[in-house]
């Protein structure tokens, strides 16, 4: 059954780009392009923001969480705030002693077993899933660090590590990760979905001052472009 679900940024993006193209990704409309794709690629080199809220996410907590994940073939990062990639483009971060944040790649979890296991983990094994409905962004470009200098007291230019950073951005709790997407250096950002519109607008306002702008999701997840169909 079709269960329409929406990214927390859907209204904001639709409002600014009424004619933007979108496609259906796992029952969620995703804006592939907001402006001319060639222009989007140019922007991505300077400063571009895209909505990545569509990627499925989950947090697993509890004494049995680590063992359960391993039983699904998912690697566990050793230290706190460490991040490891997952097959198919996802990632896993250790956000607590026995707490793990997982995000799927654009085409799915690493394996069918993992997908099944993460959809309904067994409660008896001391594993407690936490629902996540983040607003999530991809930020790329040579001026991305400069943008963070306007809105965060964390030194995203000086600190070059690849660990998860929990810090307020423009006054709102976010987690930020310096990573690469298909070889392109990017920042990933996650925040509570209810702050999504605020974060989107605030970051965009700064980005525009720095000659940047919003781009469609296909810029960073080109594999979605092949599913080019309107509902």
């Amino acid at each position: 059954m079709f269960k329409p679900q929406f990214s927390p940024l859907h209204d904001a993006i639709q409002h600014e780009h009424p004619y933007a193209k979108w496609c259906d990704v796992q029952d969620m409309p995703v804006f592939l392009h907001l402006i001319n794709p060639a222009k989007e690629l140019e922007l991505a080199k300077i400063l571009a923001l895209a909505d990545a809220s569509f990627l499925p996410r989950i947090v697993l907590k509890g004494p049995g969480a680590a063992a359960y994940l391993q039983s699904l073939g998912i690697p566990i990062p050793e230290g706190l705030l460490k991040v490891a990639p997952l097959k198919n483009g996802g990632l896993i971060a250790r956000t607590g002693g026995s707490e793990f944040f997982l995000e799927s790649g654009p085409v799915g979890w690493p394996s069918q077993a993992a997908a099944d296991g993460l959809r309904s983990p067994s409660y008896k094994e001391g594993v407690y899933p936490v629902l996540r409905q983040d607003a999530s962004l991809v930020i790329s470009g040579s001026r991305a660090g400069e943008m963070f200098r306007h809105i965060s007291s964390y030194d995203f230019i000086g600190e070059q590590h690849g660990d998860l950073v929990f810090t307020p951005i423009a006054g709102v709790t976010c987690s930020v990760l310096r990573t690469t997407l298909k070889g392109r250096p990017v920042f990933r950002l996650w925040t509570d979905g209810t702050y999504g519109t605020y974060i989107w607008h605030t970051l965009l306002e700064v980005a525009k001052e720095l000659d940047g702008g919003a781009v469609g999701t296909a810029v960073f997840f080109p594999e979605l472009a092949s599913k080019d169909n309107q509902p």
């Binding site: 706190l80 705030l81 956000t95 007291s153 929990f166 810090t167 307020p168 709790t173 976010c174 987690s175």
Partner: protein, 93 residues
Amino acid sequence: MKLLRCPINGLRPLSEFLFGGEVRDMPDTAAITDEAWADYVFNRQGEPGVRKEWWYHTASGTWFIAERDNLKDEFVRTYLHSRDASPTETKAT
């Protein structure tokens, strides 16, 4: 802006934290007199010295303990409260 070292997230400006009050054990409610209980509820120790304080890193939801010299206003050490393992002590700044 003062810097404080969260045991998990590292050195951060004080604005990323919430002060959680004095670290103290709750007395045995069965054995305690009303007067002593009222003292526990309403009074705090503030004399000059190194005080143990609860601090909370709001962005990550981490509670930890900071020992602070309240005369010099300098953080001495920070560590997680942990019942079983030994505390992960780190220099506070």
